[in-house]
């Protein structure tokens, strides 16, 4: 959605083309979960309104062959026009040096994501915020399969047929889930810190999913 009604179709930059070309072949449904690559991410934003707010920091870590790879941990800080004063108070963020221009940020982001499976807690919100930064370069959406740890947690606790009205959503916040899965919560409210917690949550949940017969890409994304 754009505030400017006559904006022409954004032309795709070559790095966006390259990224989109990765999705020509899809992941076979029988691929085992431990053969999949997950990118667990989180963003810190100035607020919850996708239209008005923007990303302050992006943090992510990859899971390959069932292992969180610390060497893949990444933190990126996109520049923004808005003053950081307000959010700095909440999150303790100070002005960062070396903020990335939207283009550089998008380039780094897409090359990092590759064709892996994107995971996050409320991941759709993060993806919308990220897409907003990259849209001037021709990115309409992220074709990566994505998995919300919230959905997975609910599925594991309430079974495959979910009546969302009956779900006590308060119990499925990241803090509550970390407590249930016995993950020490530290570094909350930094993007990378939350991504790291979510990654630990994911490997624990995937193990419990496996005992329920969810052991392949197809079953995870049924």
């Amino acid at each position: 959605m754009s505030w400017w009604p006559f904006r022409p179709e954004e032309k795709k930059e070559s790095f966006v083309e390259e990224y989109l070309a990765l999705f020509k072949s899809s992941i076979p449904p029988i691929r085992k979960i431990n053969q999949l690559e997950f990118i667990v991410l989180d963003t810190e934003t100035t607020g919850l309104d996708v239209k008005k707010d923007h990303i302050i920091s992006f943090g992510a870590v990859k899971i390959k062959q069932g292992k969180i790879r610390v060497d893949s941990a990444i933190e990126l800080y996109p520049e923004s026009s808005k003053s950081l004063a307000n959010t700095a108070k909440i999150h303790g963020l100070i002005n960062r040096e070396n903020l990335l221009s939207p283009k550089t940020f998008s380039q780094k982001l897409l090359s990092y994501l590759g064709s892996g499976i994107i995971v996050g807690h409320h991941v759709n919100f993060d993806l919308e915020m990220l897409q907003k930064i990259s849209s001037p370069f021709g990115l309409k959406s992220f074709p990566n399969p994505h998995l919300d740890t919230l959905d997975l947690a609910v599925r594991l606790e309430y079974g495959p047929h979910i009546n969302w009205n009956e779900i006590p959503m308060r119990e499925f916040g990241l803090d509550q889930l970390c407590e249930r899965y016995q993950i020490q919560t530290e570094d909350r409210h930094t993007a990378a810190g939350d991504a790291f917690l979510t990654a630990q949550l994911l490997i624990k949940m995937l193990k419990s999913a496996e005992t329920k017969g969810i052991d392949s890409f197809g079953k995870l994304f049924r």
């Binding site: 076979p28 029988i30 691929r31 870590v61 969180i68 610390v70 990444i74 810190g193 630990q200 490997i203």
Partner: protein, 643 residues
């Protein structure tokens, strides 16, 4: 610094030996950590498995280190373990089982070895632990010292240490027995049912009286013409030698060697006057000692899961390294590794068929051939580089066409995934049996090859040349032969195809520059490295393929065997072809050693890192390439030939 790395570093900092490290070193270790999760009762590693390239520090939970089900040691949060095997380069001596849900940090040993060299405190810490034979490095140092005291008293016991490292042997506890009155035939039937090579004859209390083995049936019954209806007691070997089950492995093994026994019977109190509790066969010992081709192939054939095969394939790598470093003949090494890879594929196909049999029962009769292409097709894939494969199936009735395509594509995907699990990378060009374009009935494969032969374009040839190295791994050999025959017929009809192929074979630039220095990559990730695959091996592969197609030779896929065959066919170039075969063997060995050392495909070699002799050896292999390329240039008139 990254929040995540800091978080990991903070945990490590609290525990020795990481507590001795400087901040920079600590962060570089933290950055290399891989975090995995084990739920209660899962295994981390088993006794006898080759050491992983990581050691472990427990972040959460509890790990129990066990030997034959008995707990030897508990690891708690902050304990370091799995390092003894790693630095000693030998298999794990204990089983590691998660006693609770565990979060485990794995640290690559390579990084740690560097720190050991740099930091005397850290190496002292480990040295103390090693001397004590410690399996777990406890979070507090005092225990390490206690253990060291213990050690000085017990050092005598280590005389047979050679055995303790590899004693992952399995004692069969479920022993097959029968009574002395049973007939020989009954005993043989029991052995057949259970697929074992021996049966113990026991009295009513279960005390062992004698033993009958496969060999006895051969040498005492069949060859002597004794009736199988006679009682067992007439032919059993008796009395038997027995031992207690908790005897040290070395003693058990020595009793077998001294008494020339293939089977050793274990009884509760170690005498023949107590009930049988187990049996140890030399076959079990052989299996435990691990890394011989026969053992690995046997183990693969008996594997019941893909994961099990993956572990065995890892063990094969240890064997490969040994062979390469000890200059074992390349045709043997390549033959063994090909057999191992083939068995993995055959097993995966069998599993896949079983998996699909419910939904596709009508497809089981359709003949098919699973084809390996490229290096595995040429029987020269030593390292687990890319997999290249395809499926060819018999032509089916029109009404079954769709279903057949669906079935074989599922089967192909299953095998490709299994290969991924076993460590073979995916083909970046998607030349794999999971790709619908490469799962085709015979008619379509024929058409595909005809198209390549009739309309060769440089781009098409670049992609398709590996298809000409196809080899049937499993299924119908006849289908493969029919396709080969078709290819040769098509080439006969359009021999100009060979000129195109020849041009393609000369596309790879010569490996040496004007001043006889290595041509290295000019830019990118592999700058200043020599691409041994593209510049030295591929030209030879291409030349060999071209010339066997030219001579219409089929059934020889190995590049060096192709050259050996060519030496027979063209005696005037005998020496050159023989040299080319040798050169290829040397290149294969170099690449594989390079790959094993660096844990990669070995494709890029830094010439300055090679020793002088190795560098000269590598240069010498280039000689035949240039000479062969000149011959091809003339024979296929490439100077006048325009594509």
């Amino acid at each position: 610094m990254n929040v995540i790395i800091n978080r990991v570093a903070e945990f490590l900092r609290k525990h020795p030996p990481f507590s001795f490290l400087e901040e920079g070193d600590l962060l570089s270790i933290a950055q290399s950590v891989e975090i995995s999760y084990l739920s209660k009762d899962e295994w981390l590693f088993h006794q006898g498995e080759p050491a992983r390239p990581h050691f472990f520090i427990l972040k959460e939970g509890q790990i129990m280190l066990q030997e034959a089900g008995e707990i030897r040691e508990y690891c708690d949060v902050g304990d370091v373990f799995g390092i003894l095997a790693l630095l000693g380069k030998r298999p794990y001596v204990l089983d590691a089982l998660a006693g609770e849900n565990c979060l485990i940090y794995s640290i690559p040993v390579a990084i740690f070895e560097k720190l050991l060299e740099k930091n005397p405190k850290v190496s002292l810490y480990f040295a103390a632990g090693f001397a004590a034979g410690q399996v777990v490095f406890k979070a507090d140092l005092e225990k390490g010292q206690e253990a060291r005291m213990e050690f000085s008293r017990k050092s005598e016991d280590h005389s047979l240490l050679i055995f303790s490292g590899q004693s992952a042997f399995r004692i069969s506890k479920n022993v097959l027995t029968c009574q002395p009155e049973n007939t020989i035939r009954e005993a043989a039937q029991l052995m057949d049912e259970r697929q074992v090579s021996s049966i113990i004859i026991c009295n009513e209390q279960g005390y062992p009286l004698g033993i009958i083995t496969d060999k006895d049936l051969r040498s005492k019954v069949l060859s002597k013409g004794i009736s199988p209806d006679k009682p067992c007691s007439e032919i059993m070997s008796s009395p038997v030698i027995t031992r207690k089950p908790d005897t040290a492995f070395a003693d058990l093994y020595l009793s077998m060697i001294k008494n020339r026994l293939h089977h050793l019977i274990l009884t509760e109190d170690g005498t023949a006057e107590s009930p049988v509790s187990g049996i140890l066969s030399d076959h079990d010992i052989l299996l435990s000692m691990g890394n011989s081709p026969a053992v690995l192939i046997h183990a693969l054939n008996n594997a019941s899961t893909i994961e099990e095969m993956a572990q065995i394939r890892d063990r094969a790598e240890t064997m490969l390294r040994y062979y390469l470093e000890n200059e074992v003949a390349m045709d043997f090494v390549a033959g063994v590794m090909t057999e191992i890879n083939d068995v993995i594929i055959q097993q995966a196909i069998a599993f896949g068929k079983k998996h699909l049999s419910k939904d596709y029962s009508e497809m089981e009769e359709v003949p098919f051939a699973f084809l390996s292409l490229g290096s595995e097709g040429r029987e020269e894939q030593l390292l687990r580089t890319d997999q290249d494969n395809a499926i060819l199936y018999g032509n089916v009735e029109a009404d079954l066409k769709e279903k057949a395509q669906e079935y074989f594509q599922h089967l192909g995907s299953y095998v490709v995934e299994a290969m991924l699990t076993c460590g073979f990378s995916a083909c970046p060009a998607n030349i794999m049996a999971s790709n619908a374009d490469l799962v085709l009935p015979l008619s379509k494969w024929k058409a595909k090859f005809s198209e390549w032969v009739l309309h060769p374009s440089p781009e098409a040839l670049l992609r398709s040349s590996i298809f000409f190295d196809f080899r049937v791994i499993s299924g119908s050999l006849a289908l493969g032969d029919e396709l080969s025959f078709h290819v040769f017929e098509e080439i006969k009809k359009k021999p100009v195809f060979l000129n195109f192929l020849a041009k393609n074979a000369l596309q790879n630039p010569p490996p040496l520059g004007f001043f006889r220095n290595f041509l290295v990559e000019k830019s990118g990730e592999h700058r200043d490295q020599f691409d041994i695959k593209a510049r030295a091996m591929m030209p030879l592969t291409d030349l060999a393929r071209l010339l066997v197609l030219y001579h219409g030779v089929s059934g020889i896929n190995n590049t060096f065997k192709r050259f050996e065959k060519l030496a027979e066919i063209e005696p005037n170039y005998q020496e050159l072809f023989t040299q080319a075969a040798k050169a290829y063997e040397i290149l294969m060995r170099m690449r594989a050693i390079e790959g094993l050392q660096n844990g990669n495909s070995g494709r890029y070699i830094a010439p300055e890192k090679l020793g002088k002799i190795q560098r000269q050896l590598l240069k010498n292999t280039f000689g035949p390439i240039g000479e062969l390329q000149d011959i091809i240039q003339v024979r296929f008139q490439l100077d006048f030939f325009r594509s």
